[in-house]
C-alpha cells in the first residue's frame, strides 16, 4: 500500500472543504489511500466521516460548494483532479464504474432494463444485437433468472435485491478497472445482503477489477475485503490489511469501533460498549488529534499536536501518538 506505483487508484493528501454559511467545513483532511489492482478495499467509518465525499471526489460528483484545497487522485497514472471534462467523461462509466446505495433511485424508472443496459454500452463498437447479448450474459452472471425474457421489464418489475444485481451488472458491463460501491447492500435485507456479497466476490474474480467498497457494516468488510481503510471525522486514522485492522488495530478509534459491534461480543451482556462524546465541529477544528476529545487513552500531547501518518508494520498505517511514541502516556 502507500506509494505503490502499481496501484489502480492512489489518493494522496486529498483535502476537500465545503463552503457553508458558518465558514469552511473541512470535510476531508490529508486523506491518503490506495487501491491495489484486483483487490477489494473497504472504507469504514461512521456517518459524517467523509466516506461518501471520498467516493464522490473520485468520480467528480461533489456538490457545487465543494473546494478541493490540496492533494491528488491518481488513477492509472493520471491525476483525475487535473483532467478536462472530456477526459473525465472518457473514464467515468468506462474505466471507473459505480454502484450506488439505493437501486430504486439509480435505475431510470421509465426506461426498460433493455434500453438502459444497451445505452450504457454506447462506447462499444458493436451492433444492437451484440449489445443485447452482452447484457443478457451479464444479467445471467449476476444471477437474474431468465435474463432474456426479463430484459423487456422495467425497474419496478424487479424486487430490491434484483435491482441491485442489475445495477452491479450495468457497472461491470464496461469492464472497469475500478468499481466504486457506496453501501450497495444497506437497502437490502440480511439474507439478500449475503447473496449480493458472495456474488460480488465471484464477479470480481471474473472481471479482475478492483473494488473500493464503502460500508459501516464491519461484518461485511471483514468477510469481503483484502484491505481496510478506517476514517473518522474526515481523516484516515488507520489503514492496512484486513487482518491488521481486525486483529491488531493500532488506533484507539478503530479499537473502540470494533468493540462497539454487538456481533463481536461473545458473552451475552445487557450493557453494550459505546464511544462517549460527539464528532468534533468540522468548521472550527480542535487543536491536536481529531479523536482526542473521545479517546480513552488521551494524553497531553494529543490535545496540542496532530499525529502524523505512521507505518506501524509494513503496509499498516495509523495516525496516533501512541504508535509513534510507543506507550508513553
Amino acid at each position: 500500500m502507500g506509494k505503490d506505483r502499481n496501484s489502480v487508484l492512489d489518493i494522496r493528501n486529498l483535502s476537500i472543504e465545503f463552503a457553508t454559511t458558518r465558514g469552511r467545513l473541512k470535510a476531508l483532511r490529508d486523506v491518503t489511500l490506495s487501491v491495489p489492482p484486483e483487490k477489494i478495499v473497504g472504507l469504514v467509518g461512521e456517518s459524517g466521516c467523509g466516506k461518501s465525499t471520498v467516493i464522490f471526489s473520485i468520480i467528480h460528483l461533489l456538490a457545487e460548494n465543494a473546494v478541493v484545497t490540496g492533494g491528488e487522485i491518481e488513477f492509472e497514472g493520471r491525476d483525475i483532479l487535473k483532467m478536462s471534462p472530456n477526459e473525465l467523461r472518457a473514464i467515468r462509466g468506462d474505466r471507473i464504474s459505480m454502484v450506488f446505495q439505493d437501486p430504486m433511485t439509480s435505475l431510470n424508472p421509465v426506461l426498460s432494463i433493455d434500453t438502459q443496459m444497451t445505452d450504457i454500452q454506447y462506447r462499444a463498437n458493436i451492433d444492437m444485437e451484440e449489445k443485447r447479448n452482452r447484457a443478457v450474459e451479464m444479467l445471467a452472471r449476476v444471477g437474474i433468472p431468465d435474463p432474456r425474457q426479463r430484459l423487456a421489464n422495467y425497474p419496478h418489475h424487479f424486487s430490491g435485491g434484483m435491482r441491485q444485481r442489475i445495477s452491479i451488472a450495468m457497472a461491470l458491463l464496461a469492464n472497469p478497472a475500478l468499481l466504486l460501491a457506496d453501501e450497495p447492500t444497506t437497502a437490502l435485507d440480511a439474507t439478500l445482503e449475503a447473496q449480493i456479497i458472495h456474488r460480488l466476490r465471484q464477479l470480481q474474480d471474473m472481471v479482475h477489477c478492483s473494488i473500493l467498497f464503502v460500508s459501516h457494516h464491519l461484518g461485511l468488510i471483514a468477510e469481503l475485503c483484502d484491505n481496510v481503510v478506517v476514517m473518522y471525522a474526515g481523516e484516515v486514522v488507520e489503514e492496512g490489511d484486513v487482518r491488521d485492522i481486525f486483529h491488531r488495530a493500532a488506533h484507539p478509534y478503530t479499537q473502540a469501533l470494533l468493540e462497539c459491534d454487538p456481533a463481536r461480543i461473545k458473552e451475552k451482556t445487557r450493557h453494550l460498549p459505546t464511544i462517549p462524546g460527539d464528532i468534533p465541529d468540522l468548521v472550527n477544528l480542535p487543536a491536536g488529534c481529531i479523536f482526542s476529545n473521545r479517546c480513552p487513552q488521551v494524553f497531553s500531547k494529543c490535545r496540542t499536536t496532530a499525529p502524523q501518518r505512521f507505518e506501524v508494520e509494513p503496509g499498516h498505517f495509523a495516525r496516533c501518538h501512541l504508535v509513534t511514541e510507543g506507550d508513553v502516556p
Binding site: 439474507t191 439478500l192 449475503a194 447473496q195 458472495h198 461484518g219 468477510e223 463481536r264
Partner: protein, 330 residues
C-alpha cells in the same frame, strides 16, 4: 398472574385491489394477508424481540396492538382486557399504557415543534392537566440522558441519537406499562446504537416496563431481549427464549438469518447458509410450507403440506416439518 399482553391468532389483511378491479378480474378474495395467525404473550418487565426481513409483517402487527391496524380475526388482550373491538374513547384509556416509538428517529418528530412541546404532547392528547410543565420536561429529559438545554431545540438541531432519545422521552411521558419500539436503532451508528440500547435496558430495570422490540439486527436481539420471535410472510416460524434460539436454532430460516450476521473477523470460519431467491410476494404465497422455495433442507412433504406449530422444548415453538437437529442438518 395475568400476562401484560396476550396476542391470540391475529390475522390482518389489506385490500390489494379496489372493488371495480376485483370485479373485473373476478377476484373473490382481493386481499393480502399481512399477518396470519400470530399468537404470543408478553409478561410484565419482559422484552420480546420480533425479527424478520422487510415485508414479514412485524410493523403491521405492532400497529395493530396500538389500534392503527384493524384485525380481521383474533384477539389482543392487555392486562386481560380485550382491545380489538373497542370504541375510540374506550381504547384511549388503554392507549396511555402502551407507547410506540416509530422507526425513523427524526422523521417521527414534528419539525415545527420544540423538544419541550414534543415531550409534553402526550399529556395534551390525554388531557392530563396541572403539572409543573418545566419540571416535567426536565425530569423526562434527564431520564433519557439529555440536559435541560435541549428543551428549546427543534428536531433538525438534533443528531440521530439525540432525536431517538427525545423519542424515548415521549414514549415514557405517560409512564406506560408497555413500549413498542420499531427498529429503535435503525440508521444509527454502532457507537450510538449501544447508547440507546443501554438506555432502554436501564429504563426497564428502573421502571419495570415491558418492551416489544422490532428489529432485523440479530446481534442486538441477543443482548437485550429475553425472548424472541422470528417472522416470515406474516407468521411466526419460531419463537422461544433468546439464548435457546441462538444456541440451537430449529427452523432453517432462523439458522440462515443467524448465519447471515457474521462475526466481524476475517479468519473466523464462516458456515454461511445462503438462501436461494427472495421473499415471495404476499399476493402469491407458496403452497405447503411457505418457506420451502428458499429452504436449504426442503423435502417433498414441505411442498404440499403446511407444517403445524410444534413445541420442541418448553416455550420453544417451531413451524417446520424437519427442524434442525443439534449443529446442522435436519
Amino acid at each position: 398472574m395475568t400476562a401484560l399482553l396476550e396476542v391470540e391468532n391475529v390475522r390482518i389483511r389489506f385490500r390489494s385491489k379496489n372493488r371495480i378491479q376485483a370485479l373485473m378480474d373476478r377476484d373473490q378474495d382481493p386481499y393480502i394477508e399481512a399477518v396470519c395467525g400470530v399468537s404470543f404473550t408478553l409478561e410484565p418487565g419482559e422484552t420480546l424481540a420480533m425479527v424478520g426481513e422487510s415485508g414479514a409483517g412485524k410493523t403491521t402487527l405492532a400497529r395493530s396492538i396500538i389500534g392503527l391496524a384493524t384485525l380481521r380475526q383474533g384477539s389482543i388482550r392487555f392486562l386481560g382486557n380485550e382491545l380489538s373491538n373497542l370504541s375510540d374513547a374506550a381504547f384511549a384509556q388503554f392507549r396511555r399504557n402502551i407507547a410506540m416509538m416509530f422507526q425513523d428517529p427524526v422523521g417521527c418528530l414534528s419539525p415545527r415543534r420544540t423538544v419541550r412541546s414534543l415531550i409534553l404532547e402526550p399529556f395534551k392528547i390525554h388531557r392530563i392537566g396541572d403539572k409543573n410543565w418545566t419540571a416535567e420536561t426536565k425530569r423526562l429529559l434527564e431520564m433519557v440522558g439529555l440536559s435541560d438545554s435541549f428543551s428549546g431545540r427543534y428536531p433538525h438541531q438534533l443528531s440521530g441519537g439525540q432525536a431517538r432519545r427525545v423519542g424515548v422521552a415521549r414514549a415514557l411521558a405517560l409512564s406506560p406499562k408497555l413500549i413498542i419500539a420499531d427498529e429503535p436503532t435503525a440508521g444509527l451508528d454502532v457507537s450510538v446504537q449501544g447508547e440507546i440500547l443501554n438506555l432502554l435496558v436501564k429504563l426497564q430495570a428502573d421502571l419495570g416496563v415491558s418492551f416489544l422490540i422490532i428489529t432485523h439486527n440479530l446481534s442486538v436481539v441477543r443482548h437485550i431481549s429475553d425472548r424472541m420471535a422470528i417472522m416470515y410472510l406474516g407468521r411466526f416460524v419460531e419463537q422461544g427464549i433468546t439464548d435457546d434460539i441462538f444456541y440451537h436454532p430449529r427452523h432453517p430460516y432462523t439458522h440462515a438469518l443467524l448465519s447471515a450476521n457474521p462475526n466481524p473477523d476475517p479468519d473466523d470460519p464462516k458456515e454461511q447458509v445462503e438462501l436461494k431467491g427472495e421473499i415471495p410476494s404476499l399476493m402469491n404465497r407458496p403452497r405447503g410450507c411457505e418457506f420451502h422455495p428458499r429452504c436449504p433442507c426442503v423435502q417433498d412433504r414441505c411442498r404440499s403440506e403446511a407444517p403445524p406449530l410444534e413445541t420442541v422444548a418448553p416455550g420453544h415453538l417451531v413451524t417446520c416439518h424437519y427442524p434442525i437437529k443439534r449443529n446442522g442438518r435436519p
